[in-house]
Symmetry: none
Subunit: 233 residues, 2 copies
């Protein structure tokens, strides 16, 4: 996982929850705890965790009910869930997998194994979060995947357009001259007409503004171009 993934632990036994939190934090996760099912549902709305560790026996709203509700909701259908069951609750375990948990652990579990499962589930569930990304306004440029999206929608950029946008996003707000853009996007010692940049900027704009998006590129007359989401500021 590239950054710090958020994990919510829904567990009513404070001691267990704390141990788990400690272990997961040590592994680099951002951890919070909900002591019952109702609170878990609340915190899911609030914190938007990337993964839920869900104890099966919870006060207020049972784990299985939490799971069922999440799977029915539009927003959290895909929230990865690792459930915890005590030995002897085999029936619930089976129901849990049926209800849509991604994995389960039987208590008592080894912290290492639980961590491994969490990592595996996260990896499986969030392939998009791999690699370095540049962000500007609602634009996201993923270097590793070589993908650009705006407001969640993937855009198709030609290679040159991609490199120009990358150059601009690496220097947000700064005005780049045409020659600078050529150096950054084509490489130094490449002879390209300045006006060619204009054409690519135009193409880039038309892709970025497809739909009813506003044009994030500002023309600075006599100098060049810059990224500027809010020209009035």
């Amino acid at each position: 996982m590239s950054d710090q993934a958020k994990i919510l632990i829904a567990e009513d036994e404070p001691a267990q929850a704390e141990v788990l939190k400690y272990n997961l934090q040590a592994a680099g996760y951002d951890v919070s705890i909900a002591p019952d099912g109702a609170e878990a549902l609340m915190r899911i709305e609030e914190d938007r965790p990337d993964l839920l560790v869900l104890d099966w026996m919870l006060p207020e709203v049972s784990g299985i009910e939490v799971c069922r509700r999440l799977r029915k909701s539009d927003d959290y259908r895909d929230l990865p869930i690792v459930m915890l069951t005590a030995r002897g609750e085999e029936d619930d375990r089976i129901r849990g997998l049926d209800v849509g948990a991604d994995d389960y652990m039987v208590k008592p579990y080894s912290p290492g194994e639980l961590l491994a499962r969490i990592n595996a589930v996260l990896r499986r569930a969030r392939p998009a979060l791999t690699g370095e990304t540049l962000e500007y306004d609602d634009l996201i440029l993923n270097l590793a995947a070589r993908k650009v999206s705006r407001a969640g929608q993937t855009l198709h950029l030609a290679p040159t357009e991609f490199r120009i946008l990358q150059a601009l996003m690496e220097r947000p707000g700064r005005v780049l001259s045409r020659q600078q853009i050529i150096d950054l996007a084509w490489g130094p010692n490449v002879f390209i007409e300045d006006r060619t940049v204009d054409v690519h900027i135009k193409r880039l704009r038309s892709v970025l503004s497809k739909g009813d998006f506003t044009d994030p590129i500002r023309t600075v007359r006599g100098f060049g171009y810059s990224l500027d989401a809010d020209p009035d500021a």
Copy 2:
């Protein structure tokens, strides 16, 4: 291990064994039957099942003895075992878990529930049994068995295609250049034309997309290829 997992039923009551066999076959498993403990041990050697459904009361060699022996052997230490006990044999049940059964069912059981447990045990046990598994979308690549399946269906990949897919699946979503693919799939210091990668990608695609599957490989013009199940996301 193919996607058609082999299950051995060790059960001395023919009627029960047959019913069970019928149900498991309907669920897509490859099923065989052993009427007593001695035969069970023999068939395990012979058939190499992926999971054992083990009745506790068996002629010749008792279920508990079978279990104990398997757990002591080097080859079958991790063979998943689901044991069947008659009601009232609580002591044996507990001994069974101690001896190393992975799960148990009390007779009479519902076929659906047993199936659910078998599925769960297999899913949990397989990674340990078969080595690491890579998953992406509905693709599963089993390193140890060198097998690939899509949506449950086994695919036949040539060795080079397998290694390329492995390289891609180890870095899901990330774009790999042709040279990187060569290094990863052929090894460093191997001279291969870049275009050769294209041809293998084409062959890989045609296998992965057989039927009406969508092509999971994205071409990134000017750079290389990446795994991308959902280009619009």
